[in-house]
């Protein structure tokens, strides 16, 4: 359980749009008037002190390699199995998946965490020229659709029976949830809309409260 005084959201700080996720989470905390903190985390001991975690966008191969070097993966996995809420955006969702295939190369050799029972197609919509913005209906965050920013984005090609599909674009699954783990193929941190980050903060506040009761 978190030793910090207030709810603390960690952002995995190896590579990618770390600062953008910090900013989006700070925006969420301020809009919700929650007295919380956001912390960039890289080392195993830092993973023990947070109530929620965001795996940012970037290159999943690079991030998982660096996480493995720092022995952070087992601690992250342990915290997730304890129920700590996690949001993986784009590369973050790939890291959380069970298996990943590249559109051109086939199955990738990268280390994956497997906390989401999903199979990923990387670069599913094509290369950067095919990156796009589109409005995505997503009931979890309300009636108004969410501005999806898809950058060399992956898609979910198979989802296990415990996986809830949160959003689709053109019949392709682009957001999922399995218990305390949420993955999006797009980048909510770049949309200016903090609703998905607010959702994670709410889950983190609940998780922290439940942990306190249990202890």
């Amino acid at each position: 359980m978190s030793g910090a005084k207030k709810v603390t959201i960690g952002v995995l700080g190896f590579q990618g749009d770390i600062e953008e996720n910090v900013a989006a989470t700070e925006q969420a905390l301020s809009e919700m008037e929650v007295d919380g903190a956001v912390q960039v985390v890289r080392y195993p001991e830092e993973m023990e002190k947070i109530d929620g975690l965001i795996l940012p966008g970037g290159e999943s191969t690079v991030q998982s390699t660096l996480a493995a070097i720092q022995h952070s993966l087992p601690v992250m996995k342990k915290r997730i199995s304890e129920g700590m809420p996690v949001l993986g955006t784009c590369a973050g969702m790939i890291m959380l998946s069970k298996r990943a295939f590249d559109r051109v190369i086939g199955e990738t050799k990268q280390k994956l965490m497997g906390d989401l029972d999903i199979v990923i197609e990387r670069n599913a919509f094509g290369r950067q020229n095919e990156s796009f913005e589109a409005d995505i209906p997503m009931a979890m965050v309300g009636e108004d659709s969410f501005k999806g920013v898809f950058i060399r984005a992956p898609a979910v090609t198979e989802a296990g029976k415990d996986v809830e599909v949160l959003a689709k674009f053109n019949n392709r699954i682009v957001a999922v949830r399995q218990k305390n783990v949420i993955g999006t193929a797009f980048h909510p941190e770049l949309s200016g809309d903090s609703r998905i980050h607010r959702h994670l903060v709410k889950m983190a506040v609940d998780f922290r409260r439940d942990q306190k009761i249990n202890n």
Binding site: Q15, E59, Q128
Partner: protein, 323 residues
């Protein structure tokens, strides 16, 4: 930082609105182009000339590769005209790795850039490493769906490139020399110029800020946004002469968002090991113990020997600087 959309053209040709199975989508927006650059942050982009090097780079943890016909060090040795890489090589590399593939075109060479866009590279570097095709004009990058990166050695140069539509800046440094000194000079200069306009902004001295914008040869809007942010409004990488893990850490600690390594890796005698070490030092630049571990992974006897930057016949950094 979040993504700044300053200086975005009202109706750029590079933006494509499409209907895909009844779903509307928009490609080539400033958010998508600058957003792509944001995904490279804290990473290392490595120069490569063939598939074999690209695979080594990907396995070592490169965030992207930059395809060239010759590494900058060899461009210096060969002399003659340096042009964009062979399309065949670029395509072979795109088919061999999963990380983004970038390629260089000559400064001002609109049609080399169009060819690269059609080839499908993820980012185009309008680069002073190649021989400029137009000494006075850069490419109008708003016309492209593909994002661009440009080199700059001063704040004015960087902001002018952003106004032309580039989505990412890198220091010019002095490529192919193995000497990081010029890159250090450039990032230090940009930082001090930003500090100066930021203090004008904080003092609400708009007259002086306007004067500064005119001296930088940029619009007031972009000068004000930069002053407000206290940093460049796009992602800014270090490039030019980075050879060791400590070089990469040094430039990260000066405020760069990531690094490009050109000749430093594949002109060394320990490329795979060095590539891994530079990635490690870039991510953990603020932790001297890990940077030391990274330094330990490389052998100084195997580093690119390098060139004296004071007596070079060809100073690549001066290409396109006045435009």
């Amino acid at each position: 930082m979040t993504i700044s959309l300053v200086a975005t053209e009202p109706r750029p040709k590079g933006v494509k609105v499409e209907i895909d199975n009844n779903a509307r989508k928009v490609r080539g927006t400033t958010l998508l182009k600058r957003g792509f650059a944001h995904m490279q942050k804290h990473g290392v982009v490595m120069d490569v000339t063939n598939v074999e090097q690209a695979v080594i780079a990907e396995e070592a943890g490169a965030v992207a590769v930059m395809v060239l016909d010759k590494l900058p060090y060899d461009v210096r040795k060969a002399g003659g005209v340096a042009r964009t890489a062979s399309v065949k090589v670029i395509q072979e590399i795109m088919d061999a790795i999963t990380i983004p593939v970038m390629a260089k075109c000559r400064i001002g060479h609109v049609d080399e850039a169009k060819v690269l866009e059609v080839t499908g590279v993820d980012m185009i570097d309008e680069s002073e490493v190649l021989t400029p095709a137009d000494e006075e004009r850069h490419i109008w990058k708003w016309d492209y769906t593909t994002p661009f990166v440009n080199g700059a050695k001063s704040l004015g140069e960087a902001l002018r490139r952003i106004e032309e539509g580039c989505a990412m800046i890198r220091t010019k440094g002095e490529p192919g020399t193995g000497n990081v000194a010029e890159a250090v000079t450039h990032i230090r200069l940009v930082n001090s110029e930003i500090r100066k306009i930021r203090s004008l902004y904080q003092d609400s001295d708009r007259q002086e800020l306007m004067k500064a914008a005119r001296e930088l040869k940029v619009s007031y809007a972009i000068a004000e946004e930069t002053a407000r942010l206290g940093r460049l409004p796009v992602v800014n990488f270090a490039a030019g002469g980075i050879t060791t893990p400590a070089d990469a850490a040094f430039l990260m600690n000066l405020g760069c968002d990531g690094v490009f390594v050109g000749s430093g890796i594949f002109k060394s005698d320990d490329p795979a090991q060095r590539a891994r070490a530079v990635v490690l030092a870039t991510t953990f630049h603020d932790n001297p113990k890990i940077v030391m571990e990274a330094q330990k992974m490389v052998d100084e006897k195997k580093s690119l020997l390098g060139l004296d930057t004071k007596n070079l016949e060809l100073r690549m950094q001066e290409r396109g600087q006045s435009a």
